[in-house]
Symmetry: none
Subunit: 128 residues, 4 copies
Amino acid sequence: MDIVLSPSSGKPIYLQIYEQITAQILSGKIEPGTRLPPIRTVALNLRVSVIPVKQAWEQLEREGFITTSAGRGTSVAPLAGHEIRTRRSDAAVGILVRDIAACRAIGVSRDEIVEIVNQAFNRNTEPE
Amino acid sequence: MDIVLSPSSGKPIYLQIYEQITAQILSGKIEPGTRLPPIRTVALNLRVSVIPVKQAWEQLEREGFITTSAGRGTSVAPLAGHEIRTRRSDAAVGILVRDIAACRAIGVSRDEIVEIVNQAFNRNTEPE
Amino acid sequence: MDIVLSPSSGKPIYLQIYEQITAQILSGKIEPGTRLPPIRTVALNLRVSVIPVKQAWEQLEREGFITTSAGRGTSVAPLAGHEIRTRRSDAAVGILVRDIAACRAIGVSRDEIVEIVNQAFNRNTEPE
Amino acid sequence: MDIVLSPSSGKPIYLQIYEQITAQILSGKIEPGTRLPPIRTVALNLRVSVIPVKQAWEQLEREGFITTSAGRGTSVAPLAGHEIRTRRSDAAVGILVRDIAACRAIGVSRDEIVEIVNQAFNRNTEPE
DNA sequence: GTGGTCTAGACCACG
DNA sequence: GTGGTCTAGACCACC
């Protein structure tokens, strides 16, 4: 449950939380069945109010990543292996498609994009 | 000067305008030196108020894409060929880098990304 | 957060606000980290609309003097001491250079300018 | 009658013309009595419309730098030596006083300003 | 309550 | 007629 917020990113806090949780679920870093901490605890740790955490949790539940039951807390939904692969792939396509289109629109070639992808993968550190 | 606004996109109007103009400048669709129509005309055509158009124009000017002078209108700044290539490349990197990082974070491999890129380029039509 | 507008100055309101805020940040009168009042409050106090205040805020943010986040307000960005000195010096050079050139152009000598500077510093009160 | 316009300076054209003419009169580069070219000629040379030239001429006449008489054109008014010195000094004070105040407001010391003045005078080329 | 974006007007300096 | 600035409203996402 490592979450890092960057206030200057422009992204809403609840979205940052949501994205990092899904990323950790899809990457396998969080195992299905794992119990998530109470939202108040998360809020305290992140030093934000409960509201954005709750918003993130709601979206996670709507999309079937987590299941919450009153009094028993929240845990990561079990996802079959093929389901994870599908979702991961869907997510990747969703993330990239628009931006590849944007690159094409300004005249960037396929090869240039692939080159950028390769360079990104050769760096060990994540871009800030 | 073709601009298409999609109100449902969630993106602010001024951003949509800004992005489409820069795209057209970087792709060469708008030649350097071209005179842009008055902001009020653009606003009328797009059926929006002057404000978002002006906001887009301001950002374009700050970034050196256009030059405006009161009473004489606005025209596309002359950019040397290498300058266009640099900016285009910068733009592409800026667009893609975060998303590639996001893909890596959810465990997508380099090859999967390249595959998505290839598929995107094999489709002739732009995604909506 | 003392701001005084002079409507007869010819300077746009947003510029007056911008300049006075930067001056107070650079002079140390406003401490880094200080929370600025909401733009609507500032607008009310100054008896202007929100627009010029926001315009000033935008320029301040673009130049790194303040950081704003929707829902959480605006605060003065932390600037290291040397950064403040650099910016202050830059600002002074920017302010003076053109006008010194103008003085030279009309045949004013270095000594005359220095004399004017000295006289300005011997007066305690600010010129209107 | 050398005038150089910089369209990107933000300054209105008529002001640029006005300032350069006064500078040349005060610096002695244009002798009293000299006949100025017709505004249409000036406009043609500068590749601007007659309007800003006329505006500059009007301001020059209002301030007594030139005298125009219908049918006989425009010439530089005779100014006694002491009058030139006075005007030059007034101009210098007017130009500098506000900006020195601005520098003081951001905490720049007298010595720093003098240093900037000296550096400006040690450069041979005028700042762009 | 906070900033972000937008509408529909208006007046001004400039060319 | 051009852009620059401003007013007085409004709605929205976010906290």
